[in-house]
């Protein structure tokens, strides 16, 4: 082993398997980081203390601070929150929890408002896919990937810890949770988390348009009650590691709907039942590694709109039931000291039932096969990946059985160079797709069974400069910038046929999005005091390019601002036993944008900015820890809309008390 390492070091190469010889590798990783940990694609991470200090109530609040990200937020606790990276469209962002995708075969929409930050260790956003060995095939699929990592308990001395917390927030919100962490053995652990949330949700808003009169009203039917149960297990055995999770989510919410003249109250309601079981195991040997993952999930959604009071709209009461089974096997081989090869194979099955009339009951089977080759040296790393996706759908239309199959081969390549001790360059090209969802294909009357996958092509070129001064207050300074160019073809768009009563999903959209993401990070520390500043700026020029000569050709895409900026300042004071205090202020700015491809004055949405503040304290009293958090959101109390006609809450607060026993 040592001789192998010596040879590789002599060649200026580094081995990539941490399982091989941890001690010697750690020594070598000081000058040459492990290839596995090098990201040749832009990656932004919020983790540990930085994540805990944020004034964020849920995952969406944290992700929206990443550059290049637009979070669509319909406001309120129960409002849908989705993420769109570099204007590629929500469906192009893949979301993973501990390496396993959170999927929704029915409509492809993942509501990020549902995941609480409390049990997460890190949130990372990769443009392109995550870099690393032993990825599942689906991990190569997204045009952008969001990865959540479950918190691994840190036990101190005792075998068990219990955390009780209670949050009271504006709009009559109460949230109580219990977290119980157990050490199961020397190398394994479990954590059980129960959370119950009840929020009245009604918040006041004001509404005004240029030249129009102001209105002040209450946003009603925005209540949310939910129950979450999450059991996580993890452990290590020899050179293997495993984790498992069981998750249950039950909720009942109101959708406050659009605020329009004569109608600021809506009656739409949704009841959800979601449950999943997932797990993974991986083992690393000297020159190879394997990983297997699996998941079963089922979800039941009931949507009710009963306009008894208001009369005009359609009565809806539909129920949808989904099942998903997923399995993945991946492996990695160290073919040469500088070359790794990793194949992966995933299988997935989805089923969708509904009580809708004329429903077609689609079933989807999918195979994902990926191969990745990584070559790396001391100062460079290159990746080449190929993903083949084949999707087989079956449905019944009354008496006829319908088969509809589609497949796509998508390559991607990335390259990383270390130019000097401080400066790194990166570049990637990635082709990806989004499969038409079951709704796109089979939804009663609008579905189109002949849809092709939507195609995205991304080019990115970036640089990162990092400096860690040895003396003085400043401990780290890093600057990062990426220029990119995205093209989306065969975009799936709902188009009316010659009558408004019959819409159809068609592959007719096309857009081009050049842009720049830049960020700066400063970290300082002196004695008990620490400070951090993070600034991010995104520029994009997202334009529609479907049909030259048409009225909307070259217009801005809906909800794609030219500029967006985020800033996070956090200050910490760690006095050990006397307490750990933090102050964090985050700011978000989104520039001018339109809510329609018609870039007319009426469709213009004013820029908005919002500032949030969090003051958090943690005190140690013997074996117990006591925490108190105070958050003030939308500090300046400004009224703004992210989505037109969906006013966001003005100034609001939350107070949280937690006790570790």
């Amino acid at each position: 082993m040592h001789s192998l390492l010596a040879i590789s070091l002599a060649l200026g190469l580094s081995s990539s398997f941490p399982g091989t010889a941890p001690d010697s590798l750690e020594a070598s990783s000081v000058s040459a980081p492990r290839a596995e940990n090098i990201a040749a694609v832009p990656v932004q991470t919020l983790s540990g203390k930085e994540l805990r200090r944020l004034p964020a109530a849920n995952v969406a609040d944290a992700i929206r601070l990443f550059s290049g990200v637009q979070v669509k937020d319909y406001g309120g606790r129960g409002g849908l929150k989705t993420v769109n990276v570099r204007s590629l469209g929500t469906h192009h962002t893949a979301v993973f929890l501990d390496g396993i995708m959170i999927d929704n075969a029915q409509n492809g929409t993942i509501d990020l408002g549902r995941l609480s930050l409390d049990n997460l260790e890190a949130i990372s956003l990769y443009n392109g896919h995550k870099n690393g060995l032993l990825l599942s095939a689906k991990e190569y699929a997204g045009a952008a990937s969001v990865h959540f990592r479950t918190r691994v308990p840190s036990f101190g001395k005792g075998p068990c810890r219990l955390k009780l917390s209670y949050t009271f927030a504006s709009f009559a919100s109460h949230d109580a949770s219990v977290l119980m962490e157990n050490r199961l053995g020397r190398h394994s652990w479990s954590s059980l988390r129960l959370e119950g949330l009840k929020s009245g949700g009604a918040y006041p808003f004001s509404y005004s348009r240029d030249g129009g009169r102001d209105t002040t009203a209450l946003r009603c039917n925005a209540d949310l009650s939910c129950l979450k149960v999450e059991e996580s297990l993890g452990g290590a055995a020899g050179s293997g590691r495993w984790n498992a999770k069981a998750f249950l989510y039950v909720s009942d919410r109101g959708y406050p709907g659009a605020v329009v003249r004569g109608r600021i109250m809506h009656e739409d309601r949704q009841k959800d039942f979601d449950a999943f079981l997932q797990g993974g195991w991986e083992r690393r040997w000297e020159r190879s590694a394997v990983a297997v993952r699996g998941k079963y999930s089922c979800g039941k959604l009931r949507y009710i709109s009963d306009p008894t009071e208001e009369g005009g709209s359609m009565y809806v009461d539909n129920c949808f039931l989904q099942h998903e089974a997923y399995g993945s096997a991946s492996s990695a081989f160290n073919l040469l000291p500088w070359l790794e090869f990793s194949p992966a194979l995933d299988l997935q099955f989805n089923l969708l039932d509904s009580d809708m009339r004329m429903f077609v009951f689609p079933r989807r089977s999918a195979i994902y096969g990926a191969v990745n080759a990584t070559a790396h040296g001391r100062f460079f790393k290159a990746d080449l990946s190929l993903l083949e996706t084949a999707v087989f759908d079956m449905s019944t239309d009354g008496s006829n059985r319908i088969n509809s199959n589609r497949s796509r081969l998508t390559p991607s390549a990335d390259l990383w160079f270390q130019l000097s001790e401080n400066l790194q360059l990166r570049a990637f090209v990635k082709n990806s797709y989004r499969m038409p969802t079951l709704n796109d294909l089979y939804y009663t009357s609008t579905g189109n069974r002949s849809l092709n996958p939507e195609n995205a092509l991304q080019y990115d070129l970036g640089a990162e400069w990092e400096h860690r001064p040895e003396h003085g207050f400043l401990k780290e300074i890093s600057l990062s910038a990426d220029a990119y160019h995205n093209e989306v073809k065969d975009k799936i768009v709902a188009v009316p046929t010659a009558s408004q009563f019959q819409w159809m999903m068609l592959n007719v959209g096309r857009c081009r999005i050049p842009g720049v993401d830049a960020s700066m990070r400063l970290e300082g520390e002196r004695k008990h005091f620490s400070a951090g500043l993070l600034l991010r700026w995104s520029f994009q020029d997202a334009r529609e390019t479907a049909s030259p000569g048409s009225d909307n050709y070259g217009n801005f895409l809906p909800y794609a601002p030219r500029h967006s900026v985020s800033a996070v300042l956090n200050l910490g004071l760690d006095k050990g036993k006397a307490g750990d205090y933090s102050l964090c202020i985050s700011m978000l700015y989104t520039g001018d944008r339109y809510d329609s491809l018609s870039n007319s004055e009426e469709n213009h949405i004013a820029p908005w900015h919002s500032e949030d503040l969090a003051v958090k304290g943690l005190w140690h009293c013997g074996k117990k820890d006591l925490g108190a958090d105070f958050c003030l959101n939308n500090l300046l109390g400004r009224q703004y809309e992210i989505v037109r006609c969906y006013p966001m809450p003005r100034r609001n607060f939350s107070i949280r008390l937690s006790l570790w026993i």
Binding site: Y207, G211, G212, R213, D214, A258, V259, V260, R261, G262, R263, D306, P307, E309, E310, G311, G312, S313, Y315, R357, S445, N448, R449, S450, I477, L479, V495, P496, T497, A498, S499, Q500, F501, Q502, N507, V508, A518, L535, W537, F539, D551, N552, F556, R562, H563, V565, A567, Y589, D592, Y594, S596, L597, S598, N599, S600, E602, N603, A606, P607, C645
Partner: protein, 391 residues
């Protein structure tokens, strides 16, 4: 690079980007008439429905004397009306000196001064759809039940005093009533039953205007929509079909008069499909072909059914379908969505809803079917009304 400089650059960047850009897109051409102005005087109001949930119903007005288009006039004239015109405009008609617009998702009928579009009042009617007038009263069809209870019940027609702008009576109709017409002292209501798909309503309700009560129904075809009365006491009703196997169609009804309403004679006009229509004299201008069954629409083109739009004139006296198209280049219109025949000239105005989510167009055709002008309007321009049109 020292830190101060980096900070400076970043603050400059942030400051630069924080500046609001007032005009991201170039000013749009609003269009105009070609050499042949319509002439005469008067206004043409156009109600753009607006996409649902965006509060974007919009009123545009074209001065037929000067050829000048003014867009989005309602909030300009009525800054005091909160939230502008509202969400989804469904019908626009002028009666007397007042202009009425049903704003269906705002659950109200907006009443304006016809000359200026000044707000006079708003009448709350949940699920209001179409307008019709007779004597001192306006009639508004509504998807909502007569006694409340939402849209699972049959809809109703509200009778409004045009002087007080108050609802004075309500009468039940069929499921999801749409267009109405008055003929021989009776109000006829086309019912779609659209919320009950595939069990569409196929009836025209007959309401006696004397006592404002329902006399009965005439069964015609599924999913009825537009309804017009001609000067010979006949009714013309369009059916959207069932969007699966039954295509859109046009029907003539000869009412039963004082006999039982079911005894009315209904005749399907063969070979004519109808999505929108307007009547001038004895010429019923019908635009059809809006629908193709799902099995026939192709995935590739994105133009499914569009080439199929037909522009047909039906002579209401002889019931004959005139040969040929009443516009010369139908392929120029992507999604014909509204039609208005100028009462004093041979001009025909047609609105094109385009892709239904971005700006639509108003097109003007002369008697030969040649395009005389084109204007860019709002989302889903649909309903038109003439004011003081004089030659």
């Amino acid at each position: 690079m020292d830190i101060k400089r980096i900070l400076l650059i970043f603050s400059l960047l942030a400051g630069f980007s924080a500046c609001s850009e007032k005009s991201l897109a170039p000013e749009r051409e609003e269009g105009g008439f070609d050499e042949g102005m319509p002439g005469g005087s008067g206004l043409l109001y156009i109600l753009n429905e607006g996409c649902m949930g965006r509060n974007s119903a919009r009123l545009d007005v074209l001065d037929l004397g000067s050829g000048k288009l003014s867009t989005n006039v309602f909030p300009k004239v009525n800054p005091g009306v909160a939230m502008s015109l509202g969400d989804v405009g469904n019908d626009l008609k002028i009666y007397g000196s007042k202009m009425y617009a049903t704003i269906s998702c705002s659950n109200l009928v907006e009443v304006m001064d016809a000359a200026t579009a000044r707000h006079l009042g708003a009448i709350e009617i949940p699920g209001c759809r179409s307008l019709c007038f007779d004597g001192d009263y306006a009639y508004v069809s509504s998807f909502a039940g007569k006694e409340g209870g939402g849209t699972r019940a049959e809809g109703h027609v509200a009778k409004i005093d045009t002087l007080t702008l108050k609802v004075v009576a309500r009468c039940e109709a069929g499921y999801q009533p749409e267009d109405m017409a008055v003929s021989g002292g009776r109000l006829y209501v086309a019912n779609s039953g659209g919320y009950r798909a595939p069990d569409y309503d196929d009836r025209v309700s007959v309401i006696n205007l004397g006592n404002f009560s329902l006399e009965g129904h005439v069964r015609v075809a599924p999913n009825l929509h537009h309804l017009l009365a001609d000067r010979h006491g006949q009714l013309w009703v369009s059916s959207r079909g069932d969007l699966r196997t039954i295509p859109s169609s046009l029907h003539r009804i000869i009412p039963a008069g004082n006999e039982r309403p079911e005894n009315a004679k209904t005749i399907r006009i063969e070979g004519v499909s109808a999505t929108v229509m307007d009547l001038r004299g004895d010429s019923l201008h019908v635009i059809g072909g809006g629908y193709l069954p799902a099995s026939q629409t192709s995935a590739s083109g994105g133009t499914a059914g569009r080439e199929g739009s037909t522009y047909t004139i039906v002579d209401v006296r002889s019931c004959k379908v005139l040969e040929g198209s009443f516009i010369s280049r139908p392929e120029e219109i992507k999604l014909p969505y509204g039609i208005a025949a100028d009462p004093v000239s041979e001009l025909i105005f047609i609105t094109d809803a385009g892709d239904y989510v971005t700006s639509g167009k108003l097109l003007c055709f002369d008697g030969m079917g040649n395009e005389k002008g084109a204007f860019t309007l709002g989302e889903i321009p649909a309903h038109m009304a003439f004011w003081k049109r004089r030659p």
